[in-house]
């Protein structure tokens, strides 16, 4: 049961570290995950990014995001490992499965109630493409601030 939790791990590798070493760090984490019977579901490298503030005299760093499925003990071990690794200047582990489940439930409820309301108005339950005015303009361009592309 507790084996099946989803975590998100973000770590910042110091800018002096080379590509090869960054890849090595990833394989190290992979090994730990395998040892604890977990699984890495997704792994993405954001590349070099400017930090919002200095961390230990570093002004930029390489961001790596991993989505890991596994137990709390596994994440504890990873946390301990990352803490002692000098090349990693910052890391963050967040448990995400519960939040995502809640979000999913919200989405379902909204969809259901929307369908109910539409049927009550004598419309088909699913809105057709282009039916709503806001459909196209939804991905707004005006408040675009420099940042990484992240999909939700």
């Amino acid at each position: 049961m507790s084996q099946n939790r989803q975590y998100e791990l973000v770590y910042i590798v110091s800018p002096e570290t080379g590509e090869q070493e960054t890849a090595d760090l990833h394989t190290q984490i992979e090994h730990i995950v395998q040892r604890f019977n977990g699984a890495i579901e997704k792994s993405e490298n954001w590349g070099r990014r400017k930090l919002a503030y200095e961390i230990g005299h570093h002004r930029e760093g390489t961001y790596v995001v991993e989505t890991i499925r596994g137990s709390g003990e596994l994440m504890k071990e990873i946390d301990r490992r990352l803490r002692v690794t000098d090349a990693i200047i910052r890391h963050l582990i967040v448990r995400v499965d519960e939040d995502l489940r809640v979000a999913e439930r919200h989405r379902e409820t909204r969809k259901a109630s929307q369908a109910r309301r539409r049927v009550a108005r004598g419309l088909p339950p699913e809105p057709e493409a282009g039916e709503r005015r806001g459909d196209r303009e939804m991905d707004d361009d005006e408040d675009r601030i420099e940042g990484v592309e992240v999909q939700r």
């Binding site: 973000v10 910042i12 930090l51 919002a52 503030y53 961390i55 760093g61 961001y63 995001v65 910052r90 963050l92 967040v94 939040d99 995502l100 809640v102 979000a103 999913e104 919200h106 989405r107 909204r110 939804m138 408040d143 675009r144 601030i145 940042g147 990484v148 992240v150 939700r152």
Partner: protein, 97 residues
Amino acid sequence: MSEERGSRGRGGKGADKNKGEARPRGGFFRRRRVCKFCADKIDYINYKDVRLLMPFIPERGKIQPRRISGTCALHQRKLQTAISRARQLALIPYVTD
């Protein structure tokens, strides 16, 4: 709640009809009072999405209060955690001078 307070004293029963719009109030224009996350149907506030969080961080780097941004209580709470996480990862500054 604060909506009611804003229109008090002007005496009109229908005065608070134009809720969502910016209206003068002592020469000061109210900003939009709809929760962005409710309006855009964002269920999960991702701490890695800097573009989503940035509008809630004024110059100084503090979190914009609910009374100004109009975010609902639930989403302000979620936003708060998202911003703290983003700050830890140096995606958003703690302070800007």
